[in-house]
């Protein structure tokens, strides 16, 4: 059985906090580009963009960044479906905030850097994640972390979003169990 570590009410508070932190760090929404990393980073980035717009009263630029082809384990796995990359115009000189669900080994974000390099030259790149479960394999840290989650090696940390999963939550699935 999955263990819920963050429920929907807390989920919403966390998103609010992250939205505020992003604005605070950046000194406003100007130059900001939120890029969600498929799959669930896309929904999270969309929510954050909505919140930032509410707070600032002006829209923030939003896009998605698929990193499938930049994965360093592409060859070792069966052919993966490729997600969509769509940018809200040029990212040159923008402040890009990458949004992902779970930060773990850091390899996804490493791939995202490579992907960004092919798309333009942002002034700065920041990272916001919903859950950070540690165990990094690359020297990468998030600027905004929703919740630090302690999980054992065989366990799986999942971020659920209502658009895809019917509810908002962070859960831990036990060893050998299917999510």
């Amino acid at each position: 059985m999955a263990r819920t570590v963050v429920d929907d009410r807390e989920f919403s508070r966390i998103l609010n906090r992250i939205a505020h932190e992003i604005l605070e760090t950046n000194g406003g929404a100007a130059d900001l580009v939120l890029l969600g990393i498929p799959t669930r980073g896309v929904q999270l980035a969309g929510r954050l963009a909505g919140l930032i717009e509410q707070i600032e009263g002006a829209p923030v630029r939003l896009g998605t960044l698929d990193i499938t082809m930049y994965r360093d384990d592409l060859r070792a796995n069966p052919v993966r479906p490729v997600g969509r990359t769509s940018l809200p115009g040029s990212i040159d000189d923008a402040v890009v905030v990458l949004v992902d669900d779970v930060l773990y080994s850091g390899r996804t974000i490493g791939a995202a850097f490579d992907a960004l390099r092919d798309l333009g030259r942002p002034r700065a790149v920041r990272l916001a994640v919903m859950a950070d479960r540690g165990s990094r394999e690359l020297p990468i840290a998030a600027d905004q972390v929703g919740r630090v989650v302690q999980a054992a090696d065989g366990e799986r940390v999942r971020v659920e979003v209502s658009e895809l999963d019917g509810r908002d939550a962070i859960t831990i699935t036990g060893t050998g169990e299917d999510a």
Partner: protein, 319 residues
């Protein structure tokens, strides 16, 4: 998918997956850095036993944009004259460590034969009068975008289905690999193919292909959503397949008069190279509803998608 030899080897989910990914691949064409790293370290050998600048270049760009090393081997003049068999030629290249062969050959079945001999993946870039599967895929991609534009006013997104769409393919069907691949692909996608040709240029058994077959182009055009004109080679006239160019154009050419009779939403395709003034009038080739250049641009994206599907994962990779 290990090889792409024939559209008959594809199922619906594979076709849709190939076409959908091509949409993403096409975006790369508008990027500042037209490069994806997916096939870094892979070697793709384009071996063309028959000239085709268009197809070869398209595959070469597709491979390069996916970061593969692409090598072009012009094998025209064929190894037969050098006393080397096709098998020996291909085994030699295979032994050099190619990961994939993109093969064009004037003989039907050559790609299938090669696939039986080599270790590498094989992509059929046109084999004689048999098939040209990536051409049919790019045709389908282009048509899909067109149908979406007609339906939604935008070509963004994956496009719409082929059900109920009438696709007329006109010309030298007997010697065309494009028609065979398109008929097989539309059997999967659900388009309604009408074949139009003089009776001397119909393949034996065409009546069993599940398509309407006619020699009356004028009866077909008013209901067509897509009119695909095939190149008619001048040597066919010498071969006695039809009496004169004039007679051919009169009966089977997309003349300005016929162009005017098309549905407003109909579009014109041609796999190229065009014989302007023979099967297609300049007015039709350059018409606003001509998709000829869209086809070329789609060619790269579709071939990137094919290369990705075949080569991105190591053989036998476990999930």
């Amino acid at each position: 998918m290990r090889h792409l030899l024939s559209c008959a080897d594809l199922d619906e989910s594979e076709v849709l997956s190939l076409l959908d990914l091509a949409v993403e691949m096409q975006q790369v064409q508008s990027r500042p850095v037209k490069k994806l790293p997916a096939l870094r370290g892979r070697t793709i050998v384009n071996i063309f036993f028959e000239d085709s600048t268009r197809t070869r270049t398209s595959f070469e760009i597709a491979g390069k944009w996916l970061s593969a090393d692409t090598i072009n081997v012009s094998a025209k003049g064929s190894s037969v004259s050098k006393g080397e068999s096709l098998r020996d030629t291909m085994l030699t290249l295979d032994a050099m460590g190619a990961d994939a062969f993109v093969i064009r050959h004037s003989s039907s079945g050559a790609a299938s034969q090669v696939a039986g001999w080599v270790r590498a993946h094989v992509i059929n870039a046109g084999d004689g009068q048999h098939e040209h599967p990536t051409q049919a895929l790019l045709d389908a991609y282009t048509m899909r975008q067109h149908f979406a534009r007609v339906a939604n006013g935008t070509s963004k997104g994956p496009g719409t289905g082929f059900a109920g769409k009438r696709i007329a393919i006109v010309g030298d069907l007997l010697h065309s690999r494009v028609v065979r691949s398109n008929v097989l692909l539309q059997r999967i996608l659900g388009g309604d193919v009408v074949l139009v040709a003089p009776p001397t240029l119909l393949p034996t058994g065409v009546e069993d292909w599940g398509c309407e077959v006619t020699d009356d182009l004028d009866a077909v055009l008013p209901s067509a959503d897509i009119v695909m004109m095939l190149r008619v080679q001048r040597e066919r006239m010498a071969g006695g397949f039809f009496p004169t160019e004039r007679e051919y154009t009169e009966s089977f050419g997309l003349t300005p008069g016929r162009l005017a009779g098309l549905k407003p939403t109909a579009a014109i395709c041609h796999p190229g190279p065009m014989n302007r003034g023979v099967e297609i009038s300049p007015a039709a080739a350059d018409a606003a509803n001509s998709l000829v250049l869209d086809q070329v641009s789609a060619g790269v994206a579709v071939r990137m998608s094919v290369l990705y599907h075949l080569l991105a994962a190591e053989e036998g990779a476990q999930g």
